[in-house]
């Protein structure tokens, strides 16, 4: 069994979530790969890990309206969540709004969604951005939708822990305010990561390769999770798992 890049990334995220401190993973809008990873971890932990997918009805346990996800995060009931960004800088600041001198936008993106709040509240915040280029990973974001770190007097139980891209996995240290390269995906190199990253980051002496997708997990993903994620992301499931659309 060879894993596709999508499947490989699902398995990387699943390892990040398969952690005793994670009891409840929430997955926001337009996040099929994190959604698959969360459902996979729920499956392999025999539902010790709860999964809440915000959009649609499948795996959406919320009954208190659109504010409940944010309320839950504010209550400390969400242990892991995912954010991306049109731009991300070396201080883990996120830009989901646009490039240029706001409000005179050059290129507009959809907007900050709940990032401006969630980034502060969820302990294990996983940054997930497939495209690893200097267009995305910039020295300084043009607009801060959500800051990577805060002053000590700001209430902030959460924040960025890791960054996963098509090339590598990095960790983020809120004390040094820097990313650290953890592993490079098979077929890619440190040089490739450096060439495509617009900010400086810490590089350990030895950089391991990101482990491959575990065959047993890949099997579960294709057999059990594919249909489940199709309920929320039919187009994605059709493309990646060749599920027939309902």
């Amino acid at each position: 069994m060879t894993a596709s890049l999508d499947e490989f990334l699902v398995c990387v995220i699943a390892r990040l979530l398969d952690d005793p401190a994670v009891r409840h993973v929430a997955v926001g809008a337009a996040s099929p790969i994190p959604g698959c990873a969360a459902l996979l971890v729920r499956e392999i932990t025999s539902s010790r890990v709860r999964v809440s997918i915000i959009h649609g009805n499948a795996n959406n346990p919320f009954t208190d309206g659109g504010c409940e996800l944010f309320d839950c995060a504010g209550q400390g009931r969400i242990d892991a969540f995912f954010l991306g960004g049109a731009q991300i800088d070396g201080g883990a600041n996120l830009n989901l709004v646009g490039t240029g001198a706001y409000p005179n936008i050059d290129k507009r993106f959809p907007g900050s969604f709940g990032s401006t709040f969630m980034y502060f509240m969820v302990p294990k915040m996983i940054l997930f951005r497939l495209e690893h280029t200097r267009r995305v990973f910039v020295p300084r974001v043009d607009f801060v939708s959500a800051p990577g770190t805060s002053a000590p007097d700001v209430y902030r139980p959460g924040g960025p822990k890791v960054l996963l891209t098509e090339l590598c996995l990095m960790s983020f240290d809120a004390t040094t305010r820097r990313f650290r390269l953890e592993t490079v995906h098979p077929g890619h190199s440190l040089e490739e990561v450096r060439d495509n990253t617009g900010f400086d980051f810490e590089v350990p002496k030895r950089v391991p390769e990101t482990p491959a997708a575990e065959p047993d997990r890949l099997d579960i993903l294709r057999t059990k999770i594919a249909g489940e994620i199709a309920k929320t992301y039919p187009a994605f499931a059709s493309r990646v798992f060749d599920t027939s659309e309902a």
């Binding site: 309206g65 504010c67 709004v97 936008i105 507009r108 900050s112 709940g114 709040f117 002053a151 187009a235």
Partner: protein, 275 residues
């Protein structure tokens, strides 16, 4: 009393220049009503997306009906960016007030509770805050060592709109677990609703389903508009027509494409504000 009336008169309840609250893409979006407003065309709207927008807001923006827009985001979901919103922001033809999802909910809940503001965590140090002259970061007003916090002023929409599967003749409207529609209606001065159907049953009669009902006294007027969310979906009734949404996304990629799409969608009639 809640009024049951035709769509035509219902549409008149959204006057030009009002602050209009619109539900998020995945929930109860009154697309037929939105198209009727564009047909009129409604003008100078201040739109509040609760808290994010999609096709409805993209169409209103593209048709030139929107003066200011407050939203945490606008996108077509799996169909990609909202093209007319994106163009309007880049060309500066609307005044965009960027927010974040819980801040929109908080602003409505302040009205719901009858207070002028509510505090909200996070936000500090963001450019969202830096660009909002109405939001205010203050030192812990309890002086209890809680640190700084942001106060979000109340937003009272003039009119809230949504589409529901069913209302009864008293004017009680089913919302199920989409409780942001309740907050929106509680906060708004007027709430105008389209529904798939009017039932002769009393939606409040059964305790098992009453929890999902928005009581009639929040509702100004209701029109029966079957398939009123299409091409978007309505839970338990019809799924979103993904091909139609993609077709919109492609057509609306250009101004001309949008205009011909809308002329077709509005039945070939007139009514694009920019004309």
């Amino acid at each position: 009393m809640t009024v049951l009336e035709p769509l035509k008169t219902l549409t008149q309840r959204v006057a030009d220049g009002v602050l209009l609250a619109v539900p998020p893409e995945y929930s109860f979006v009154p697309m037929t009503l939105i198209r009727a407003l564009i047909q009129r065309p409604v003008k100078d709207l201040h739109v509040l997306a609760v808290p994010i927008g999609g096709m409805a807001i993209d169409m209103l923006v593209g048709a030139g009906c929107v003066k200011t827009l407050e939203a945490a985001a606008v996108s077509l979901g799996e169909a990609g960016p909202a093209p007319r919103f994106t163009a309007a922001c880049e060309e500066g033809t609307i005044a965009m007030r960027d927010s974040t999802c819980p801040a929109v909910h908080t602003a409505l809940q302040a009205v719901e509770k009858g207070v002028p503001f509510m505090p909200l965590g996070g936000i500090i140090g963001s450019d969202v805050l830096a660009n909002r002259d109405d939001w205010r970061e203050v030192d812990d007003p309890l002086e209890a060592g809680n640190g700084p916090i942001v106060l979000i002023p109340a937003i009272r929409p003039d009119v809230a709109v949504f589409h529901s599967p069913v209302a009864d003749r008293e004017g009680n409207v089913w919302i199920g677990r989409r409780r942001e529609l309740a907050s929106m209606a509680h906060a708004a001065s007027e709430t105008v609703v389209t529904v798939e159907r009017i039932t002769d049953d009393d939606l409040m009669a059964d305790e098992a389903t009453a929890a999902g009902v928005l009581p009639a006294f929040y509702i100004s007027a209701i029109a029966e508009v079957p398939e009123g969310c299409k091409p978007l979906g309505l839970i338990d009734h019809y799924r979103a027509d993904r091909d139609a949404i993609r077709a919109y996304a492609e057509a609306a990629a250009t101004e001309d494409g949008f205009r011909s799409y809308m002329q077709h969608a509005l039945g070939g009639g007139a009514g694009l504000a920019a004309e």
